[in-house]
Amino acid sequence: MTAMDAGPGVELASAAIGAPRRGRGRNASLVVGAVIVGLLIVMALLSFVWTPHDPTLVDASARLRNPSAEYWFGTDKFGRDVFSQIMVGSQTALFVGVAAVGVAALVGVPLGIVAGMGPRWVGEALMRFNDLLLAFPALLLAIMFAAVYGGSTLVAMIAIGIASIPNFARLVRSGTLQVMRTEYVLAARAAGRHPFGIGLRHVLPNVSGLVVVQASVGFAIAVLAEAALSFLGFGTPPPTPTWGRMLQSSQELLWEAPRLAVFPGVAIAVAVLGFNMLGDGLRDYLDPKLEDR
């Protein structure tokens, strides 16, 4: 976020972890990350068919209840069950993440490969374009979109997706440059293979590990950005619960019920932590050879 940058963690994929990180560190990161992300996905899927209560049901008689056997995380000022809202909120977080990472990868990966394979000036031009995009963080883009179209899930997805393109493009370009220096690519070129074929046959499979890692980190960034957007009121409109808006509406009740801020806050932080750790773990697991150093 910080939001957003939206996003802290932008560069984590490529540089944050130094080389001496073998053994237990690697495995722990991967396992913990995978478990958190797995639980998150299960929670989101489960919430389609079952939640303890209707998350949008307003019940004046059950306002601001403390956590109990009936309301695990208590209720908000409208008497809505907080746990059910957290469950349904994970749908929005994951949905926006999938779409944003999809947009970013679909544009960024080809861009990075072309920038890495093409003539020098093409690579330079694409990377300058990339730098320019970096000056437009997700939140800023989303605010621009929202100024004209109003806030919506679609606006959040597109804005976060566009803002995440540079992360993919830069990473894939550096991977492509390494692959292009290998002898099998030289052999393929000597054999007269079309550059498109080389890109598809040799480059893409070899950079796919990088893409998977970046996708995981991209998810973390998307969750942060989506939370910030719905916190500001530019995300998915009510009554669909989102973690960001739950936090926003908790703010006026910090004196009476600070727990209303804690639950969605922990949900956001744990989700982001899970995707970041999964990304870290995957990087060490998948890609010993395409490391930065």
Binding site: A3, M4, E11, V148, A228, F231
Partner: protein, 316 residues
């Protein structure tokens, strides 16, 4: 060296032009006509026409773009379509507020991240290093606005040490200014610090493996001495880069944190303008934020040359 400088400068200028065209084009091409958006859907066609004529929206786009850029450069930004207030002075006031917030946060981030990241690197195989790494991993996962809400809950609601929100100009009441600045600046700064520590750690780890550091140790310096005398300057380059790249995150984080703490900065102006459908102000503020990011990135490019003598000779 001169060539490098010229190239960087032209890339910077080109970025300014392209991004201004992008922002302008985005706002101009979108279906919502600013006058229509400002007046609302119920406005009569003649009222919309009058507003369009008054603010020059009926002129060709090229002319509109030219006068917008001219306004930005000379800081004569004209009046808002909605409030009719002059935009320039408003933005000037707000920028000061946001700068206080962002700069303080940046300082907090550096002051925390450099020592913590260095310790993390020097003890990366020990428990203390691993614990700090884990802590920074958690910090990265916490958005600034969440940190803000948690800090308010603890220091304003529970302990009642600091005000929960508000803003006082430093000249009006320095004590109050400081008290109100602490929580928002820490919300932004601590989160930035978490991200930054990881880069400091990684940069210091790289330096620790260098030959010249082993030489320094061999001539009798203790690890910390060797690092301070020979290592930190080299580790500074990636860290400074990261610091600059984080500026965009920081400014955007400030937008949200200003909302949390009810601070009248640039971010609040932006969000209020969106709420009031004041598109011209949105366009101006977005452009100013983008220019700020581009200027800082350019400045960092120049700073490299100052930090790294190798770049000065032009051999690389």
């Amino acid at each position: 060296m001169l060539l490098r400088l010229l190239r960087r400068t032209s890339v910077f200028l080109a970025s300014l032009v392209v991004s201004s065209i992008a922002v302008f084009g985005f706002m101009a091409v979108l279906p919502g006509d600013p006058a229509r958006v400002a007046l609302g859907v119920d406005a009569s066609a003649s009222a919309v026409r009058r507003l369009r004529a008054e603010f020059g929206l009926d002129r060709p786009l090229v002319n509109q773009y030219a006068s917008w850029v001219h306004g930005l450069v000379t800081f004569h930004l004209g009046d808002s379509y909605v409030s009719r207030a002059a935009i320039g002075p408003q933005i000037a006031d707000r920028i000061q507020v946001t700068l206080w917030l962002a700069v303080t946060a940046m300082v907090i981030a550096v002051v925390i991240a450099v020592p913590v990241g260095t310790v993390m690197a020097m003890r990366h195989r020990r428990l203390s290093g691993l614990l700090l790494s884990g802590l920074s991993q958690v910090g990265v996962a916490v958005p600034a606005f969440l940190a803000g809400i948690l800090l308010i809950t603890l220091f304003a609601v529970r302990l009642r040490w600091l005000p929960a929100n508000g803003w006082t100009p430093p000249a009006a009441n320095p004590r109050m200014f400081f008290e109100q600045l602490v929580l928002p600046a820490f919300s932004l700064g601590v989160v930035q610090a978490a991200v930054l520590t990881r880069y400091v750690r990684s940069a210091v780890l790289d330096v620790l493996r260098e030959d010249y550091l082993r030489t320094a140790r061999a001539k009798g310096l203790r690890p910390a001495q060797a690092l301070v005398r020979h290592g930190l300057r080299n580790a500074a380059i990636p860290v400074v880069t990261m610091l600059a790249l984080q500026l965009a995150t920081l400014l955007v984080g400030a937008v949200v944190v200003e909302r949390v703490f009810v601070i009248p900065g640039l971010g609040s102006l932006l969000l209020d303008s969106v709420a009031n459908r004041d598109l011209i102000v949105v366009q101006d503020v977005v452009m100013i934020l983008v220019v700020a990011v581009l200027v800082v990135n350019f400045a960092v490019d120049l700073l490299y040359v100052a930090i790294d003598p190798r770049l000065r000779t032009g051999t690389s």
